[in-house]
């Protein structure tokens, strides 16, 4: 509102700036996020710290409120857009500094299915959570998934379907991975309007994710478990 005091990002303390950036992500303010990222870089913050404390933590709030029915797709798209703008600045710097990687996901809609709004949303929210996402688009036969998983050395496979007639194809993909002895190399998450938990279990996925926010949380949990296992083993 015009009569309220204007916020000058560069005058805020680090702590205040981070909180303000969370709000700005929530409001989908792209330019403000870019400005905030640049200020933190000037103040000597590590790119990885900016990613996690400002962007990922901010998107977590967006994700939680999406999950709880407080925010809806339009707002989330605006937030993801702002997040992306911040990421664009950080990406080359993260690569240079060899920052730890959260995980990599290959995602696509299954063969016969051409719907992609839900899948795109998951991809954006996963990127928002710091994952690297390789989106292989719509109408993917099993070969596409396998080729992308191998090429990208991915950790996670995400499959999406909007139609009751295409969702059984997810099982074809999982069965093929099993035949090739590759099933256990990946965390397999499935989602889409007509799916449910029972279906996810029946086809042998690791989890069914009700929405994009749940997908992010589930992916994080599985990755953490995988890391624990590696340390223990």
């Amino acid at each position: 509102m015009a009569d309220e005091e204007e916020i000058i990002l560069s005058e805020l303390s680090d702590e205040e700036l981070i909180l303000q950036m969370h709000d700005d992500l929530y409001d989908g303010l792209k330019e403000e996020i870019e400005e905030g990222v640049n200020i933190l870089l000037e103040r000597g913050w590590e790119p990885y710290r900016i990613l996690t404390e400002a962007l990922v933590a901010g998107m977590k709030i967006v994700g939680d409120d999406f999950r709880d029915g407080i925010l809806f797709v339009p707002e989330v798209l605006m937030s993801a857009n702002a997040m992306k703008a911040g990421m664009a600045i950080l990406k080359p710097l993260l690569a240079e500094t060899g920052a730890p990687k959260v995980g990599k996901m290959v995602i696509g809609t299954v063969k016969g299915d051409i719907h992609d709004i839900g899948k795109n949303l998951v991809a954006m929210m996963m990127e928002g959570a710091g994952f690297e996402v390789v989106d292989i688009g719509i109408n993917n036969p099993v070969e596409n998934y396998i080729e992308a998983l191998e090429r990208e050395k991915a950790d996670i496979l995400g499959m999406s379907a909007l139609l009751t007639t295409t969702m059984p194809y997810m099982k074809v993909v999982i069965d093929t991975l099993k035949e090739k002895g590759m099933r256990d190399d990946y965390i397999i998450l499935v989602g889409g309007a007509p799916l449910n938990e029972e279906f996810g279990r029946a086809i042998g996925a690791d989890a069914y994710c009700r929405d994009a926010a749940v997908a992010v949380q589930t992916a994080k949990d599985f990755i953490a478990r995988k890391h624990n296992k590696m340390q223990a083993g």
């Binding site: 509102m1 015009a2 309220e4 005091e5 204007e6 916020i7 909180l19 303000q20 709000d23 700005d24 929530y26 409001d27 303010l29 403000e32 709030i61 409120d65 709880d68 029915g69 407080i70 925010l71 809806f72 797709v73 339009p74 707002e75 798209l77 605006m78 857009n81 063969k111 016969g112 299915d113 051409i114 719907h115 709004i117 719509i138 109408n139 139609l163 009751t164 007639t165 295409t166 969702m167 059984p168 194809y169 099982k171 309007a193 007509p194 449910n196 029972e198 279906f199 029946a202 086809i203």
Partner: protein, 336 residues
């Protein structure tokens, strides 16, 4: 303006719409990923059969097999150049079946969403959305539909664009949205917001309402939401036949004909004037719904508790209407 649907609504307390298109076509051998609309020209006998099955089960209104026949969706099958033709033929086949029914049957020209997200979040502008819908509307009009029927819409902007396209085609229309996310549409529209959206349109629909979504309980809650918001136009309830279940490599919806008959009666008692099914609804379901609507006396408006008792629980705590939901505490407002 009197159109055939408005006239029929004047003489009847409720009208039975049709059931699923996809589900029934898949039962005839349509394979996943194929555009069902291509069957309008490739397998017209199957489409006639689909239409006839709804009419024979007692539908007063049935929808044309043109849900995805807009340029934006057909493009995915490289058939965008055939938009007008596929709509016209889908409508002509329907006209033929309706005219042979021996009673008043309304042909409704189905128009589904573009599948694109509208600006500013997405790339689809209002002007282009209107053009896309208008092209489809003209094809349906040419094929002889009585009314246009916009369905499964999520965004208020897309609904408004469809309304404008119907006006441009000079056609009466009906329009339903899909409330599938915590009681709202995917884009966050509540039942109450839809009522006010409909009232603000310069070319308002003959009837409006909800289709598809989650389960029958949620859909009935949305109907109650329309009524509570003071809706004066006829309300449409077109819910799915239960929830899809995966069984031995196939999908089937768990709603029985008996359950859908119960749903139809509850929808009528809740205030819906046009009642039908959506995904999973077969002619058997429709026949059971018709029978129940004819035989069972009108009851009182059901409460949310009664609906849950008869149809099962809801997918979310509330439908998001009325009181503002939980909001997040914010820091100072932004320069703006």
């Amino acid at each position: 303006m009197t159109d055939p649907l408005s006239r029929l609504l004047e003489t009847r307390d409720w009208l039975l719409a049709d059931g699923a298109t996809g589900t029934n076509l898949f039962n005839m051998g349509l394979t996943a990923g194929d555009a069902p609309e291509l069957w309008n020209t490739d397998k017209p006998d199957n489409i006639r059969k689909l239409y006839r099955s709804a009419v024979e089960a007692g539908s007063d209104i049935f929808l044309t097999n043109t849900f995805g026949a807009n340029a934006s969706r057909l493009k995915l099958h490289d058939a965008q150049a055939r938009t007008r033709e596929l709509n016209r033929v889908g409508a002509e086949l329907a006209r033929e079946v309706a005219d042979a029914a021996g009673r008043d049957v309304i042909v409704a020209g189905s128009i589904g969403p573009t599948g694109e997200i509208m600006a500013p979040m997405g790339t689809l502008t209002h002007e282009i959305a209107v053009e896309i819908f208008h092209e489809q509307a003209e094809g349906l009009k040419e094929g002889g539909v009585d009314v246009l029927w916009v369905e499964t819409i999520s965004a208020a902007e897309e609904y408004a664009a469809a309304a404008e396209a119907c006006a441009r085609a000079g056609m009466p229309w009906c329009g339903t949205m899909s409330f599938d996310t915590a009681g709202r549409t995917m884009m966050g529209v509540t039942a109450a917001q839809m009522v006010s959206l409909v009232d603000r349109l310069s070319h308002p629909p003959v009837a409006f309402g909800a289709n598809c979504g989650v389960g029958a309980s949620d859909l009935l809650r949305t109907v109650l939401g329309f009524v509570t918001a003071g809706a004066e136009r006829p309300i449409i309830a077109k819910g799915n036949a239960g929830i899809p279940k995966y069984h031995d490599g196939h999908i089937h919806y768990d709603g029985t004909p008996e359950l859908m008959a119960e749903y139809a009666v509850l929808a009528r008692d809740a205030g819906a004037r046009i009642i039908g099914g959506c995904c999973g609804t077969t002619p058997d379901h429709l026949a059971a719904m018709r029978k129940a609507l004819e035989e069972r006396p009108r009851g009182e408006r059901p409460t949310l508790e009664l609906i849950a008792e008869k149809m099962g629980g809801y997918s979310s705590a509330s439908d998001g209407s009325g009181e503002a939901g939980p909001a997040r505490e914010r820091r100072g407002r932004r320069r703006g």
